[in-house]
Symmetry: C2
Subunit: 347 residues, 2 copies
DNA sequence: TTGAAAGCGTTACCAG
DNA sequence: CTGGTAACGCTTTCAA
């Protein structure tokens, strides 16, 4: 009694397979009575339309690919994925995930084989720089390519990006306008391929350079190795500075949050002793009261997905390429500059 | 020149479509020279085997469903998903996600329509209680059903679960053995359907009851409303207690982390003034040095996926149902009980 | 409103 | 090792 096919359903309902098919996919073409009967029998026989067959017949795959740097478990990737999913799933699409597309081996394998060729209806590329050659390769699959936080729009049918550079420029400016002079930017080493992280660094540098003369700044980028312990590396680098800075500008909240907590253990309290600003507004940023630049990767995923749906549907996009700004979220880790006071007076 | 089909490739390569097909899926059956030529031409013509057609032909869908409570963005869900993905993707499967399967509307819709019927090769059910009727419904799709942290193994072909109750029993025992007497368990209200959260509460209660007489305990479960602000609710409930507890036992790290940080602002410092233990070992637990019970949802996802693959392959599982224990991770938020001292002596 | 039949792109059997 | 061909389960004209 298991796995009845469309013929059995048709027979049991006393109709043709055409009618069974229509009862599911174009119910309006079938009389209410027939349809009800068909659906009822189908349910009894555990029957349902096969997506594979539908896909084959229609030429669509009802599947989209999502390429990402690193793991889906990172905050940013999860949020973008969830945003895309929230649009694509109800529209009948599954997401085929390709993680770690930023490692040389995976890149080579992926772009060499192009396993998604003819097997997805659209491709999302989240947050990594694919080089011109790879964009070309991707285009050969002849489906819409949608970028999220890609460094360039070149070769993409649509993109959504936050302006990382401008966002970090704003963050830095905020610290400068609070009167801080000694500003450090702890930065984990750039990935092998340029990513949005680098744009942020540029934003910091540009803001400092622009304000340099007027504000007599002492600023620096403090580069630490990538890896799981990057925040601890930054911490120790910070502590080993001759003068502890009066402001710290962070690449991301995942850098800022551990710093706030652990610097506290070494007697450096924010906002009393220094200001610090993060980037992302990721979980726990509000818990520690972190002032930060907010971005909305979930929303970007939704935007990207909506564009993809239109593109799949052969519609033309009014604005294929969108840039959104990060928002300054003022909380409790920033304060106007105050001349440092002898430690024993602080009690 | 776009989207060549298998016939064009065959013609261009001077072979039959059978050979083209075999060159991709059973290369060992084709001579090296022929294969190389076919692959080369296929690449030139942007051709690749269609998964939809393969799926149709083979009767498999190369798709699995994953049902989850709430959103994929939660730490637990993301980890389980990533674990499943890490096994299923290389094996050629996509994951079709069904979120919020715990809300009445979604449940009704999902189990009524059973949209995955005949459309997935396996179903993963993560961390929610489906009632007996729903298990029955699910079984009607005639594919393996694998549970992750389901409250019962009934109706599942395989399950992996952590023993939430035992884990929390252990956590509670640890606090008791440190000499704490006044222990509070802040708990967000149970979801509409029973989940692993409830097991943890039971573990706490049982541990307290078991130790009650011998240790003269004063324990309580402090229930607060669910929702985004559950940690703040717990915080204020805690602060409004007549006597502040000397130990806090938390449902999960997401409760413990904000509490540690925010209680600090109100002058309650751990481990000086109270011990606190979390559950999960989620991100930032180590940053704040939280003593907690570790679970490994990523690993559970992998285990579940491996079971699924075997089941799909009609193999029998030696141990279909596995239970793993949470591990006590001792860090810095627990200490032996000390009689509270007058506040002014603490400076 | 319904039915018959062709065809979507594979795979697998059977020949050669 | 390679080719011909039927069949997988559906959708979609075209006719009735």
């Amino acid at each position: 009694m298991s796995k009845a096919d469309i013929y059995e359903v048709a027979k049991a309902a006393g109709v043709s397979i055409s009618t069974v098919s229509r009862s599911f996919t174009r119910p309006e073409l079938v009389s209410a009575k027939t349809r009800r009967k068909v659906l009822e029998i189908a349910d009894k026989l555990d029957f349902n339309i096969s997506r594979s067959a539908t896909a084959l017949k229609s030429g669509q795959t009802y599947r989209v690919a999502m390429l990402m740097n690193e793991e889906i478990t990172s905050w940013f990737n999860t949020q973008v994925f969830a945003g895309i999913e929230s649009i694509m799933h109800p529209a009948g699409y599954d997401i085929s995930l390709f993680q770690h597309i930023d490692t040389p081996e995976n890149r080579h394998e992926f772009f060499g084989e192009l396993p998604i060729r003819r097997n997805v209806d659209a491709v999302f590329v989240a947050s990594f720089a694919i080089d011109p050659h790879e964009v070309e390769q991707l285009q050969r699959i002849h489906v819409p390519i949608i970028g999220i936080n890609t460094p360039s729009t070149e070769g993409f049918d649509a993109t959504v990006s936050i302006d990382d550079e401008k966002g970090m420029y704003t963050a830095t400016q905020h610290l400068i306008s609070l009167g801080h002079h000694h500003i450090v930017y702890p930065s984990s080493e750039a990935a092998s391929i340029s990513s949005s992280i680098d744009s942020r660094t540029r934003g910091f540098i540009r803001a400092c350079e622009d304000a340099q003369e007027k504000h007599d700044l002492d600023w620096q980028v403090l580069t630490v190795p990538r890896g799981a312990a990057f925040a601890d590396s930054a911490l120790s680098a910070l502590l080993s500075l001759d003068d502890f800075p009066d402001a710290i500008c962070c690449q991301m909240d995942m850098m800022a949050i551990p710093l706030v907590i652990k610097l506290g253990r070494y007697g450096h309290l924010t906002p009393r002793d220094y200001s610090i600003i993060g980037f992302d507004d990721s979980p726990n940023a509000d818990t520690i009261n972190l002032t930060t630049m907010r971005q909305d990767p979930y929303g970007m995923g939704r935007t990207a997905a909506n564009k993809a749906l239109k593109l799949i549907n052969n519609e033309t996009l009014a604005t294929p390429h969108e840039i959104v700004d990060a928002q300054l979220v003022l909380r409790g880790t920033d304060a106007p500059y105050q001349r440092p006071q002898p430690a024993d007076l602080l009690q």
